[in-house]
Every structure is written in C-alpha cells, then in structure tokens.
C-alpha cells in the first residue's frame, strides 16, 4: 500500500514538472503579459521597468529554472495582475469551487443512481424510456446554454409570471461562514439558494452520465448467477436490488463519480463564468486571458496534484468495494 502511494506521488511530480515546462513555454509563445497589463500611455522606460520587475527580461529557460528553484520550497511567485502570491489566490478561490463541485456531484449521484437503476430494472417501461431520453438531452445540451436558460427561467421569467414564486439568485455566491479558516457558504440559507442553479447546471450533465452508467451496470448484473440464486433463495426484491445489485454496480459508479468530481473541480470554468461563481475556474480563465503565468502554472500544479490524489482515493475505494482488486498489482 505504502509503495503504491509513494509511486503515485512520484508520478505526480513528474507530471507537474513536464506540465509546468509546457505551460511556461506556451505562455511565452503566446505573448508578453506586459502588453496586456500596462497602460497604453506608459512610456518605454516604464515598460522596460515593469518587464524587469516581473523578471520577464530573462531568457525563458532561465525564468523557468528560477521558478523551479522557488517552487521546490513551495513558492510559486506572485500574480502579475493582482500582486498577491499565486497560491494564496488559488486557495482563496478553492472553497467556492469545491463546494459547488461536491453539491453538484451529490445531486448527480442522488438523482442519477436511483433513476438509472429504475431504467435498468425495467428497461422496457415507458418511464424508463422517458428517463433515457431526458438523459440524452442532459449531456448533449451545452452547459452555457443550460445555465442561461436556468437563469432566465428561475431568476427572471417564473417569478414574473407566477406571483409568489420564489426567485433564485442568478449569480454570485451567498454569505459565507468561516469554518476552520475556510469561507463556506453551504451553512447559510442564502448560500444554498445561490448554489442551486449552478449546481443544477453541472449536475444535469453529470447526472445524465451516471444514469446511463447505472442503467448499463444494472442490466449487466441482473442476469448474473448470484442474482438468480438470490431470487431462487426467495430473497425479497428489495434486498436483491438494494444489496446484491447495488453493491456490484457501485464499483464503476464510484470510479466514474470520482473522476468526474475531479473534472468538475478542475474545469467548471464555463459554469463558474456564467454564474459569476467566484471559484478557481474563473480565476484560471481571467489569468489565461491576461497571460498571468504564475497563477496559471500554480493552478495547474495544484490541479495535477489534486487529480492524482483523487485517482489514488478512487483506487483505494475500489479495493475496498471489490476485495479482488489488489493495489500493488495496479501500481506496477
């Protein structure tokens, strides 16, 4: 187990080094951040001073080595734009994103798994067909469109048409409470109201995926011998479905949910932009547009580390759910 974890961590370091080099070179090729940051009216002397201050007068390989040297001791430089340490900016924005992603995935699982199992148990029923049709819509509609429609419907149109219909906030995050130094909004009623629409937008696509996955897994498990035996033994349908089927379909669902959670946390950019959700995705997009390299690199380093960790957790969970899987074998 320990060897497995260490091996994974070493993989993470390799990925981080490769990725940071790529991002460094990439942003260097795109353009000079100073052009984007400095006022058009600035003189040439001021321009050169800014370039020197930000260390952009060095050749790119030297800038990279300086970065690596500092990154090793945990210093990722200051944002060109905000003048604050890049990591600090990312950690300020992280709780909002994680909160949104967790609520969205929870919603997706709570809705997706029961619906998917229903569709798997009664594949020919009218309701099952309805669920599957909706799920196709769910992951084929573009996120930004769904988000805008939800805003128009729940924040503008419905409260206008139906008097007394509660209006959902269209953007931003609700009031936050400090929990262990983290600013969380899931402990206030307003916070939940603000969370609903963006979480629903994200959950729609993810939920659709989980429905389809659950249905397929359920259909695969149903004709298995142990289900037939359970039936022959006279177990109640509830126990068969709730224990024997659910336990066995849990493995692929856990894997996919874990990976999707990572995806949502790392790349909820579109949803965060539409709902002006003050998360990391929006920070990343703003930083890319302004070529704010320290933030982009630090963000990707954090995300790579996070995704590797998530994979690790999923693999461990996998071995818990399915005792036949051995971690050592996977790590090799």
């Amino acid at each position: 187990m320990l060897v497995f974890i260490i091996r994974r961590l070493m993989q993470a370091v390799v990925v981080m080094v490769v990725m940071s080099a790529l991002v460094f070179g990439g942003i260097y090729l795109v353009g000079n951040p100073v052009t984007m940051l400095i006022s058009d009216q600035a003189s040439e002397a001021e321009r050169l001073a800014v370039i020197r201050d930000l260390g952009l007068d060095q050749p790119v390989w030297q800038q990279y080595l300086t970065f690596v040297g500092k990154a090793v001791v945990g210093e990722f430089g200051k944002s060109f734009r905000a003048g604050e340490p890049a990591m600090q900016l990312i950690f300020q924005h992280m709780p909002a994103t994680i909160e949104l992603a967790l609520v969205a995935m929870l919603l997706a699982v709570l809705v997706g798994v029961p619906l998917g199992m229903y569709a798997g148990l009664r594949p020919d029923s009218l309701r099952a067909r309805g669920i599957m049709t909706v799920s196709i819509l769910g992951f084929s509609l573009p996120t930004f469109w769904v988000g805008l429609m939800l805003i128009m419907l729940f924040a503008v149109a419905l409260p206008e048409w139906i008097p007394g219909w509660p209006r959902l906030p269209s953007s931003g995050r609700g009031p936050t409470v400090d929990i262990l130094g983290l600013k969380l909004s899931i402990f206030t009623a307003q916070g939940w109201l603000h969370l609903l629409l963006p979480a629903a937008t994200l959950a729609l696509a993810k939920g659709a995926l989980i429905i389809r996955l659950t249905r397929a897994a359920t259909r695969e498990v149903l004709p298995m011998d142990y289900v037939k035996f359970a039936r022959a033994k006279g177990l109640s349908e509830r126990r068969i479905v709730g224990v024997h089927v659910l336990k066995n379909i849990a493995i692929p669902i856990a894997t996919v949910t874990g990976l999707e959670l990572g995806q949502v946390i790392a790349f909820a950019v579109v949803t965060e932009t539409i709902f002006s959700w003050p998360g990391m995705g929006k920070l990343l997009i703003d930083s890319i547009l302004l070529l704010d390299r320290p933030v982009v690199v630090a963000y990707l380093v954090v995300i790579v580390f996070f995704l590797v960790m998530l994979n690790l957790v999923v693999d461990i969970l996998y071995s818990v759910l399915d005792p036949r899987v051995r971690l050592e074998a996977q790590g090799r």
Binding site: S39, D40, A42, S43, H93, S171, G172, S276
Partner: protein, 526 residues
C-alpha cells in the same frame, strides 16, 4: 436567517409605503464587467481599478463627465512659471479616519507612486515629470518640473491622494499592495469608505458621512464582478443588481424597450481606428504588389478611407451605439476642431484613386483585429473587409485573441489593423502623441503608432503644443496638428464608442466620456 429575511422583506414593504427614499433602498448593487485587480490606488493604472479608487480616494483635480477639469482636493491651481505649478488645497477636508488632509499627504502620495514594487502599470506615468515638491504652507504645494508641463493638472487627476498617517509603514512604499487589498491603510477622503472585499465575489463600501462634497444617495454600495455579458443583463432583469455597466450591444434594443429598465449613454473618448503600415517595404500583409507597399501612397490611403461606410457600420453593427469619426477625439473636447465632416462613402472615387496610384485592379491585404477587446471588434473588421473588397482591395481578416493580437501588432506583423484608443486625459495631445507621432522611444512619442506613420510637420506642431502652457495657443497647435494628420490619412478613424449603462427604473446616471462607473453619481430619479 430565514427569519431575518422575512423581517427584511417586511421592513422593505413598510418602508416602500412610507418614505420616498426608504432606508432599505439606500443600498445600491452594481454589476461590473471587470473587477479591479487591486485596491491599491497606485498599483495598476487601469480603468476598473481607477473607477473603484475614485470612490475611496480623491485627486487634487477631478474630471467632470465630459472630462473638463474640476477642483477636488485642490481648490485652484496656476502656473507660476513655465516649470512650476501651484495648487491651493481644500481646507477642512478629513480622511476616513478623521485625520485632516494637508500638503504632507500630497507629498507622501506623489513619492509613493514610484515606490510600489511590481506595479504592472505604474502611476509614474503621471508623476515622472515632477522633479521637486515644495510645501509652501500646509494648504499650498508647488510642483516643479524639468521641462514645461502644461498637462500637469490633467496628470494630477490620475494621482489619488492617500493618507500619510494611515498608509505609512515599514516597507519603502508604506502600506504594501497586499495590505491595501485587505483594507489596511485604505484610507482616503472620498465619498465612500471601505468595508470588505472578497476577490471575485463582492466589494462592499459604505457612505462617508463626513464627506465634504455632495453626499451620495447610497448608504451602502456592493460591487459584484459579472464578466459574462448575458449574466450581467440577467442579473439586472432579475433584480440581483440594480445597475450594470457595458450591457452587450445585441441586447440594447431589447433593454431600451423594457419598461423596467433605464439606459444611460455617453459618447466616450475611445476612438476605433485602422492603422496602416507606412514603413515596411515589402509589407507583410500585401503579397501581390511585387514587394511595393501601396499604403505609403496617400491616394491609396484616401481610397481605403473613401471605401469605408462608417454610417452603415455604426447603424448595423454597433446598433447605433457609436458615432462615426473624422478625428481621433470627439468635439468639443480640448484640441478638437469644430468642422470635421465624416468622409462619405464613395466607391467610384476610391476605385479611381486606386487606379491613379497604379493599382487599377486593386491588391490583396490582410486586416488584423483583436477578437473581444473592443465592442464588436471582429464583426466591424469583417464588415470593413467586405467594404474594401467592394472597392477592389481584396481583404481578408485575421482575428486573434487580444494577447496574440497585441504581440503581432507590436512586432509589426500587420499591414493594416483595427484597434481602439481611449484618451484618458480627454484632450488631443494624448491620441496624437500615441498614434500618429513618429515613433521615438526616448521621447515617449508614437508608442502605439505601429503603422509607423511619420510626418515631420505633425511632430513639430505637437512638440510645440506639449511645451506651451497657454491654453488657447496649445489648443490651436493641437487642432493644426490633428488636421495635418487627418488630411494626410495617416490613420483612419472609424467611430467613437458610445458607452452604455443599464439600471432599474427609478435610477439616473450621467454617462461619462471616460467610461467610468461611479456609484456616487447614481441617483434616485426625482
């Protein structure tokens, strides 16, 4: 929480019935298209930062909505001689912490501008010509410059006065940018006081009841960044915010007809123009002229201007929210001429001019444009491509993300490019110096003249104007310089953007040429 909400709702209902401007309505929520990158008023010289700084701080000199100079923390100023300006300070002004405003704060602030480390767009732009500050008495300062600086009062509008007492600290610059971002030392004399800022989420300010000037109507102002244009409009329609800046042009007709929304508009100081490469030979974007650069010929530039249907662009692409341009700054701003008719589209004459210049069959050209930097920039460029092609100049556009565009522009990779210029000083020397003066790094001329247009006559007039302290003489010189450049088609102005603000019915706003969104100018309609 729910209880409190119900209470608030009840209070709102009661207050709506009672007073004309009830307490609950004294809160203004503003949706910004770009949030400030910092609250340090001397860190990043950029509109989103400057407009927020103007709520908390004031400069010696202010600009009214049309960018005319107004007394602010200075009640008057005059040039004592060619290189000395004297400012008389306003008596009885206090900072948010109650300490009095004096000449020491002016000295501290001007000194600090050069000391802020890693400023991505430093404020030395406004202070660099100052070589000495004399405190004559606590209410009088004299600023000495090395050379005549007629624009020093305009430059002083960009330097917001900080409190020496509150913003001093162990670092060379006193309170650091990070500390100011947290609100430490963020003490000014402005109409609002700082309450809290959570980056990406909201910035909260409250009214400074001790403010010396007209008191704002709002007890509390909340700025929320809503960078996505559709979200901003939805936020206004749903009542999440009361006031937004830059509603997208496509939505303007719909908003204008919505009876719950009021629009405010103002002609901005931002001109959208086309710059033509008048230096390189061969020029990169014109492949079929055997290495000759046709743009060096004034007739060709004139033909390209005649081919432009500026009125159609304004009406069809800009939805009427722009004004066709014949100069780099709209009249009656300082240094503009009164009679500048916009060039009428004339395809036949354009073709004839091209033929006269030796291009009866035209030529091909690539027009560079940023995509997403100016209002409808790429769409406008597409239209120009069609218009030029109609006149015989086969045009294709190269639209790039802004960072890529600016890089290409600075490396002279375009033969023609579309861009914009906002004259923050609100007078003519600003665009002339940046866009048409012969590029000269040492003297800070032609910094954005990437077509490398060069006309010694324009340069001479401009240099003369920039050391003329007398307003009337300077105005005439600037008018002459801009006329020379325009008649030479050194640059092709297209239109001036009209800035728009949208707000819920019952509010008014006086739109500003500098495109700033200032909550203290938002008022409940009488």
């Amino acid at each position: 929480m729910i209880c409190r909400k119900a209470g608030a709702a009840l209070a709102l209902a009661l207050s709506l019935a009672a007073a004309p401007l009830p307490l609950a309505a004294q809160e203004l929520k503003v949706g910004l298209s770009t949030e400030p990158s910092s609250l340090d008023p001397q860190y990043h010289n950029l509109s989103p930062n400057n407009q927020i700084a103007l709520h908390l701080f004031e400069a010696l000199v202010a600009q009214d909505p049309a960018q005319n100079l107004q007394p602010a923390l200075a009640v008057s100023w005059k040039a004592i001689d060619d290189t000395t300006w004297e400012f008389k300070l306003r008596e009885g002004v206090t900072f948010h912490d109650g300490s009095p405003f004096t000449a020491e704060d002016v000295v501290f602030t001007i000194d600090r501008a050069a000391k802020v480390p890693n400023a991505p767009s430093p404020f030395t732009q406004f202070t660099k010509q100052i070589v000495g500050i004399d405190v004559v008495d606590p209410m009088t300062v004299r600023l000495r410059t090395a050379a005549p600086a007629p624009l020093l009062p305009v430059d002083m509008t960009g330097i917001r006065i900080m409190s020496k007492k509150a913003a001093s600290g162990p670092a060379p610059e006193g309170k650091t940018t990070e500390q100011l971002n947290r609100g430490e030392g963020l003490v000014g004399t402005g109409p609002f006081k700082f309450v809290e800022w959570s980056r990406g989420n909201q910035l909260v300010l409250e009214r400074n009841d001790a403010y010396w000037g007209p008191k704002p109507a709002w007890k509390k102002v909340i700025f929320r960044p809503l960078p996505n244009a559709a979200t901003r409009v939805a936020g206004l329609l749903s009542g999440d915010v009361d006031f937004i800046e830059n509603p997208p042009t496509v939505d303007l007709p719909k908003l204008a007809s919505n009876e719950r929304v009021t629009l405010a508009r103002a002609l901005s100081n931002r001109v959208i123009y086309i710059h033509l490469d008048q230096f390189a030979e061969p020029t990169p974007g014109i492949p079929d002229t055997n290495g000759k650069n046709p743009l060096k010929d004034k007739n060709v530039r004139h033909a390209l201007s005649l081919a432009l249907d500026r009125t159609a662009i304004v009406q069809r692409i800009m939805e009427g929210f722009a004004v066709p341009a014949a100069d780099l700054l709209p009249s009656p701003m300082f240094g503009t001429r009164k009679d500048t008719p916009v060039e009428k589209v004339d395809v036949a004459r354009a073709k004839k001019l091209l033929a006269d210049a030796g291009y009866p069959n035209g030529f091909s050209i690539t027009l560079g444009t940023p995509n997403g930097r100016y209002i409808n920039d790429a769409k406008v460029a597409e239209t120009i491509a069609a218009l030029w092609t109609r006149a015989g100049v086969k045009t294709q556009i190269e639209a790039s993300a802004p960072p890529v565009f600016f890089k290409n522009r600075d490396e002279h990779k375009y033969s023609a490019y579309l861009a914009g210029w906002g004259a923050t000083t609100g007078e003519m020397s600003d665009p002339l110096r940046a866009l048409v003066a012969t590029p000269n790094r040492e003297r800070g001329m032609g910094g954005t003249n990437k077509g490398r247009y060069s006309n010694p006559a324009v340069d001479a007039k401009l240099v003369e104007a920039m050391r003329t302290v007398d307003d009337e003489k300077r105005r005439t010189l600037l008018q002459e310089a801009s006329k020379l450049a325009m008649d030479d088609y050194g640059i092709l102005p297209l239109h001036f953007e009209v800035s728009v603000w949208a707000m819920k019915k019952g509010l008014t706003y006086t739109g500003r040429a500098d495109q700033y969104t200032l909550a203290y100018l938002v008022a409940p309609a009488q």
